[in-house]
Symmetry: D2
């Protein structure tokens, strides 16, 4: 297949990053359209067509594939509409906020025969890929205990953060990472604690900013996922796989290999944002999407993966409310 035409749907913080990758760094793809209410963004990204309504992009015959980076609550409907229009779909996580919506999105893509890939970027980060390669080589054996951590550098506006965001939007990365690093084993039961520790006032508003989630898998492995909306030291994404063989830890986080030795000791600068830390993963996941569309191969991470991670998120939220472990089947997963 020749170069494919891609439309970007939603050009906020993450969408603009994807748009600029598509405009310059993804071989085999051309950014042909941007659908976003903000004026001027299509031009800034170098796309010829500027739409305000995603439906226009879905109707555009020059568009072979869409990248959905709108707010999470619109994701499932946008996937369904794009799939029905016959477009290949890359959808930012979470693909849906309910399992029913997840099923609708999966069904629509399957019915239309279009590729559906989810923005679980950690699978494309070098550290995580190296850890998975060690697993696939058998060097780690069978996972026993896994860990996945996400800490944001703070600066959130609580009024714009829906309840359960820490599970649905932040930890969903960690839930997918745990699944990625325990291949073939599904989650069985989830226990979670969560609290408002960054801003105690948030608790009354139902917001949770710090959470620890224990995920029990069918193969006996236990995963621990941790998240916090504010880390004074920057953006922090790490992981660990401890198996019957050996152990891998991921998430170096350093900005460069330069070490500064001064009066405070030895200092390594660390990444301050996801777009710095995960830049190569953001590009790699789009490159993989474009390659899969062009080659007719399956999505490296698809709708079923999105659904499985969402089920863990829903169970975690319910565990916090009920104060007890929640089985995945209880939430319909």
């Amino acid at each position: 297949m020749d170069e494919i035409g891609v439309a970007l749907v939603g050009a906020g913080r993450m969408g603009a990053f994807h748009g600029s990758s598509l405009a310059r760094r993804i071989p085999g793809a051309r950014l042909v359209a941007v659908a976003d209410p903000a004026p001027g963004i299509a031009e800034r990204l170098g796309a010829d067509r500027a739409y305000t309504d995603p439906a226009e992009a879905f109707a555009d015959p020059a568009v072979d594939a869409v990248v959905i980076a709108a707010p999470a609550r619109f994701h499932a409907d946008l996937v369904v509409a794009a799939a029905r229009a016959g477009k290949a779909v890359f959808c930012e996580k979470p693909m849906a906020l309910s399992l029913a919506d997840a099923d609708r999105a999966i069904d629509a893509a399957r019915a239309a025969g279009v590729l559906l890939q989810i923005g679980f970027n950690r699978r494309f980060a070098p550290d995580w890929q190296a850890a998975r390669a060690l697993l696939d080589d058998g060097r780690l054996g069978t996972p026993r205990v896994l860990r996945s951590v996400t800490r944001d550098p703070g600066g959130f506006d609580p009024s714009r953060v829906p309840p359960d965001t820490i599970f649905n939007e932040t930890l969903i990365h960690d839930f997918d990472a745990l699944r990625f690093l325990n291949p073939g084993a599904e989650a069985v039961e989830v226990y979670a604690t969560a609290d408002a520790l960054v801003e105690p006032g948030w608790r009354e508003r139902g917001l949770l900013d710090t959470a620890v989630v224990v995920v029990r898998f069918a193969n006996g492995a236990t995963g621990v996922a941790e998240a916090c909306f504010e880390a004074a030291y920057g953006y922090d994404v790490r992981g660990e796989v401890f198996g019957s063989g050996d152990m891998a830890t991921m998430g170096d986080g350093r900005r460069s290999g330069t070490v500064f030795s001064g009066a405070d000791g030895r200092i390594v600068e660390t990444a301050r944002s996801d777009q710095e830390l995960l830049a190569s993963a953001y590009v790699a996941e789009l490159a993989a999407f474009v390659a899969a569309v062009r080659d007719g191969t399956p999505a490296p991470v698809g709708g079923e993966d999105a659904r499985a991670a969402l089920a863990i998120a829903l169970a975690a939220a319910q565990s916090v409310r009920s104060g007890r472990p929640v089985r995945i089947e209880e939430v319909g997963g």
Copy 2:
């Protein structure tokens, strides 16, 4: 006070290490007696008096203080007997296996007015002391999420491991470490998962070799403690304190600072046993004990700390059996 006379009670693996420290490396102390059924051990350690019955050591007027390193099930009774004999007591962890026994030991020491110190060695390891100093300096702020990991290099004889050992004898170090690094906050509720992953046959015998424990503290912090009886890569003790300020991670584990670059990449050798990794901590805790006895100052880690860690261990074991979180007050903690 002049040099104090110390008796070692129990000269097994750990006891022999303490004995050899007392014989050569602890200023202000002299190893005067060893009580152990094994013949020749007192002589090998250079102690003049060899007893087979601890009561003989407790009755010896040359003995000012005792170091109890007998099997765990005898600890509480030995503490009580030594305290009644007016000896200062250093007792290996766990001080007791039930809260009633813990109370007996604490009461006996209090009634006799003798110092009672517990062998929570991690408090004396350089990494943990540096982390605590960062906390005390306010650089970490208030802890939000803590982690403590203990992995043994394997080789356990399951027939000699009582049920709940992973909680009472291994993770009890981690429970104390979490308390040490969240000073002033007590545990409120405990959730644990555990399984026999090293030797699946152990499960039927009630043995658990791998566990993850979530400890909720009164100040909102969550601690995660992990242990496994077998790590193919050696002995692994690590920790992390993530607070409202910054973060500290502990547990470098390297044998030396030598880095070997070869065909496999860059390699740092790691410690293979607790006595290698924690050698300085084992010496430092005894030195602190001897100094406290001589100076008449309080024990740096005492009977109440042992009781609090035990309560977490008991709640963890009950959580595994019941499949739900257990409040500390439910186990009498």
Copy 3:
């Protein structure tokens, strides 16, 4: 200026890498032509025009700029010809093998008023940029001792390696790196040792595979440059700046941040080739070249830098032959 047309002159190992960067990853540039005797390479790189003679590329009006990656002995003449044709020039190191040739190249570019940039990639590697930023911020103070190391992974064909290659082609990177990290200070005197240690038979053929060079700078700083044609552990590029303020070390070399803990200890995989280790620097130097051409700004590293590094290389070679330190002015530098 609109997108510029670039011709690649020489599409060997390094040239092909540059060609593929120009074809896909350099904003503002289009690879319009390739001049190389190998058939098919232009097509593989997606360039419309395939030339066998560089003169054809220089005569092509669609070509605004050329990237010279032919063998080193042709560099100076190619720079002169391209400059006379009015093309902006990016020339791989070394720009010339004699100071007379270097002067010819510099003069031709100056006379034609075209930009001339040299492929000293280390200036564009993140670690070296971070170190220079620390210098520019004053945090390192005035350099006292600098170090620069280059070790290749081996596999050289000695019959294709001209004498003095280790100085002219390998260490020339290090000489430039020392200058980059001691800004404003010029080399005064050079002492070098070199030998054939990889293949002792090479010595009789005049080849040297291992060298240590001491460079004394006018500001009192001493630089040490080391190179070897074979390191069993991979490709190794490192640096150190020790100043009156603090110290920076560069050259992490790790392939990812994943740490593998196994029976041998803790292992980090390291880069195995320059194109892996320096991939981002190779892209960044071309991006900087294209940006300078389009913006009309000076080259970030130009002909005078090439000449200064070459003078150190010539002095080093002469020092080995004479067995004594050689002043830069002795070689005409």
Copy 4:
């Protein structure tokens, strides 16, 4: 042999450290006497006999061995006197300041049949021992390029620093370390640069505070030794062995394994003094001395090693004065 009686000769900074090691941490030795003009030091170290004249210690029949830590200019005469008195001798480096004195000391020890060990502590530091073990195992192959660095934290009083101190007293450690890590190969030629960069005024007084020394060995290996009297970031001792096999780097320097993550990045505290960084090496070298005396085995590092390192130091000093490489045989080495 029973516990040996040791006399400390010279109880300055380093002597007091050795004295306190002997008093408490060296199995098989008893500190019986201190010879130092400062009043009260013997008592503070717990030695029964306080002498002001070393001769008194040498005449004392309770003294089996002496540890010489007086100023360097007295070392050779003290070794001779102690050896003639039949005492085993541990002498701080440098054993002598001239080769004639070195020969006198070696001859006296040989004639008296007493053990003579030199305080080259780096041989007893864990990192250096691990590197030597890698060499002895053949994993590094034959050394090609070696590096040894010593940087002091500053605070020197220039009026108390004799000329050539940087070679005779500081770099002599590095010269010995290079020999230790290139076993069996002797130095052939030395080239050195040195300057007064810490305090430019020192230059006129003949003081040199920063030096780089290239040592060519008979087996083709090149060693680079670097020293500076002032590093703003603390005490820094490092090494590297790059061989035909693989590479080892030594000198981690970290104070503990605790990593602090804050606004500046990731920070590891580093050692601030030799007595912190090399504490275990200082104890280990004395323990090895005492063990050799008691077991009648040869000194692990003896008078001939001291002489060989001194010859390199003398050649380095002469190279700075003459501005050319100096052969070891030119200085009588």
